[in-house]
Amino acid sequence: MGNVLTIILQRLALGFLTLLVVSVVIFVAVNLLPGDFAQSILGQGATPESVAAIRRDLGLDQPMVTRYFSWLGGALQGDFGSSFAQASFANFTGSDSGAGSVAQQIAPRFANTMFLAAVSAAIAVPFALVLGVLAALYRNSVFDRATNIFTLSSISSPEFFLAYVLILFLAVLNPILPSVSNIFADMAFSDRLEKTLLPALTLTLVVTAHMMRMTRAAIINLLSSPYIEMARLKGMSPLRVIVRHALPNALAPIINVVAINLAYLITGVVVVEVVFVYPGIGQLFVDSVKFRDIPVVQACCLIFAAAYILLNLTADIMSILSNPRLRHPK
């Protein structure tokens, strides 16, 4: 098992480097956008004096390199700084209550996004795997084709379109579910779940096709192997052949695809959150980009990047663990 541990450490180190690169890219990109925080927040009321005053207060008048390294210095010590928006208001009141720290602002939003991702994953992953196995079992049948057409058309449609179709059928024509997911902290779990269901179903439609088709392909790929032939000759039922014999060997590619889609559930939710007014990290991210609130944008991007890196790492490790040949290398 020492081998796996080395891989984890190596990958974590590489992941850290990736995060560093991401932070540079984001920082430069946000700075390349026209306008800065002071101009965006003041809007039509921007006078040269007030723009200069806000820039001075927030240190935006420093050169870019200085600002990046002072941010990096803080971030390495776990301090992601203060949101410009909130910090600017602390200046208005003449004191910093600490309420503007990026961590404090992101934490509840991140928890909401994770909740949505968890609900979506709990629906989407079993749904996709079962569909995939069934499609492999009844391959080239009407069921297989129907499933393919359904999942492929849902992945090919833009997310907002899927969201509106679901709203039309499940909220407007048949008022079963609410169209606005205004969840908040001290809400009962059942209410929260009910309000989260429509965005979760939308995301399910988006991610199912990929996982389902990979499951189907991986299993079908194995069905021509001699050991499957052997299992069939023993007289096993087709379902048992697939679930007991084919599936365990098809796990590695499936896990990889599942991991990528889980990461998407965390990072790809911006549009869905806006359509359903879900107070997650995606909405915060959009707001922050709009206002050029660099500390918040950076933190959001790092969370997104970290989600990808960690989930991919998990996928690799899981595929090693699911493959005896990799688990016990000679």
Partner: protein, 513 residues
């Protein structure tokens, strides 16, 4: 306001306190229930600091719910007392004495008095306060506490509209000595106390049991504002019955809403207007004939029909609208007349004119389309407008006030002087046409200190004509406020038209059926 003239009330607002209390209910409104509104115009940077308020979500929550100002503009446009009960001016309108309401407490139990007024207004003039209301209070040279419930303001120069200015949504009353805490938690004297507030997400308020407004306002037991910035999501939430009211209806969706029997549309014409300012200090716009040519070269009705889809009225290059008291409705309307435009161009010694028009939808929804309509309507007059589509980001810093001819908008002001001194007085920072007209300037100062309503009307009418004939801002259209409510909600017969959602006060004035 039967029998009481607005200015009479203004000069000595003795009856105002009574009015504020009785509220003149137009229809029996009953207490109770929970009201939920979906509001576009919320941000994660929102806070209870009135100095930063700029969009409906915080204005409706703060001025319309949790906090109060000294005065209040009623739905019919008249001024009434809120935390002030009456006020009196010296004959030159320079010294104003306000009597404050007695027995008012903040949500934390602190009694309201003169110190709170002085400290709250000082927030806006303090060095580096960045308050958007600074120009309003900058003219106050002295604030003096006479008794615990009487304050005297001395102004730099006479201003008959001073009590009006104090109704501004930035000028909220905070508890003295506890302003920081009040801003952090939302502690005011308003009808609703804060139960939950999540910036850019939602606000929940509970009716204060024993409030000085009694049964005349604040009919809901509980109110909730949900931040829904996406147009379609806001409409969906109303159509599915999750919320009772929405602001800012997308004009294209309006027929769909009208078709729904559970929803009714409210449409009011106020002072919100869309403009094309030109910098009049530089060529070619320094020539009044060029400006006139441009005024006749725009098809205003076409813009109302195509940009506002009929939800508005044509403008006459004056920013004073139907929600203003001295709106000059009979002033002859500028018409689309390419020949006349050509004539004025000739007068300027030109056969044709080539200009750039910078526009972005940051200025107003449809600004780029409007600029293109302008381009095609001006072409027959020999005016070649080159439309430059500018990025929305940084538009107000990089284009507006910078480019010679651009698109802009104004939400309008409830008094003439306020509007003029924001954008047309020579030398003020937001004078987006850099316009300087001696006669206009002279009238501005004399009308400001004039307490006689008839003389004032005359002066304001002349000023509107000067703007129409000489001004550097083309104002092709006034845009209506279009909002919708569900049938659960009862609104008074007259709904305010100086701002969205009953002058931002839906939480106070509306009730459930």
């Amino acid at each position: 306001m039967n029998g009481i003239s607005r200015r009479g009330l203004l000069k000595t607002g003795v009856a105002a306190g009574v009015l504020g209390l009785s509220g003149m209910p137009l229809r029996a409104q009953s207490r109770g229930g929970k009201f939920t509104a979906g509001i576009g115009g919320a941000n994660t940077s929102d806070s209870w600091d009135g100095r930063t308020h700029s969009d409906l979500f915080m204005i409706a929550a703060a001025l319309g719910g949790v906090y109060d100002a000294l005065t209040e503009v009623a739905a019919d446009g008249s001024l009434q007392g809120e935390l002030a009960t009456s006020w009196e001016a010296s004959p030159d309108a320079k010294v104003w004495t306000f009597n404050l309401r007695q027995g008012v407490t903040f949500h934390n139990g602190k009694a309201f008095g003169a110190d709170d007024v002085i400290e709250s207004l000082q927030m806006h003039v303090a060095e580096g306060s960045k308050s958007a209301a600074q120009p309003l209070v900058a003219a106050i040279t002295e604030m003096r506490k006479i008794t615990d419930h009487q304050v005297q303001f001395t102004l730099e120069a006479g201003n008959a509209d001073f009590p009006y200015l104090l109704s501004d949504y930035h000028l909220l009353m905070y508890p003295a000595g506890q302003i920081e805490e009040s801003i952090a938690k939302g502690i005011g004297t308003g009808l609703y106390e804060v139960v939950a507030f999540d910036p850019g997400v939602r606000f929940v308020g509970r009716r204060v049991a024993d409030h000085y407004k009694g049964d005349s306002a604040g009919f809901f037991d509980e109110v909730e504002l949900i931040a829904i910035n996406d147009n379609t999501a806001r409409m969906n939430a109303l159509l599915t019955g999750q919320i009772d009211a929405v602001n800012r209806i997308d004009f294209r969706l309006e027929p769909l809403l009208r078709a729904n029997p559970n929803v009714s549309i409210q449409e009011v014409t106020g002072n919100q207007h869309y403009t094309f300012p030109m910098l009049t200090q530089s060529a070619p716009f320094n020539d009044v004939n060029v400006r006139r040519a441009l005024k006749y070269g725009v098809d205003r009705q076409e813009m109302v029909d195509k940009i506002l889809l009929g939800h508005g009225k044509v403008g006459n290059d004056s920013p004073i609208g139907p929600a203003n008291q001295y709106y000059h409705a009979e002033m002859e309307q500028l018409a689309y007349d390419p020949d006349r435009a050509k004539f004025h161009l000739k007068q300027a010694g030109l056969d044709s004119l080539n200009i750039d028009l910078s526009a972005s939808n940051a200025a107003f929804e449809g600004a780029v389309d409007a600029a293109q309509l302008y381009q095609s309507s001006a072409a027959p007059a020999g005016i070649n407008i080159n439309v430059i589509q500018e990025p929305a980001d940084g538009y107000w810093s990089n284009v507006w006030l910078v480019k010679p001819f651009s698109a802009s908008y104004w939400s309008g002001r409830s008094t003439e002087d306020w509007m003029f001194s924001s954008a047309y007085e020579a030398g003020v920072p937001w004078n987006d046409s850099q316009w300087d007209n001696a006669r206009f300037q002279e009238l501005l100062y004399s009308a400001r200190a004039e307490l006689d309503s008839d003389k004032r009307r005359e002066q304001y009418y002349e000023m509107q004509q000067i703007l129409r004939d000489d001004g550097g801002v083309v104002i092709p259209m006034f845009a209506n406020f279009v909002q919708a409510i569900s049938n659960r909600v009862v609104t008074p017969d007259v709904v305010g038209n100086t701002a969205q959602m009953d002058n931002n006060r839906m939480l106070e004035r509306w009730s459930l059926a």
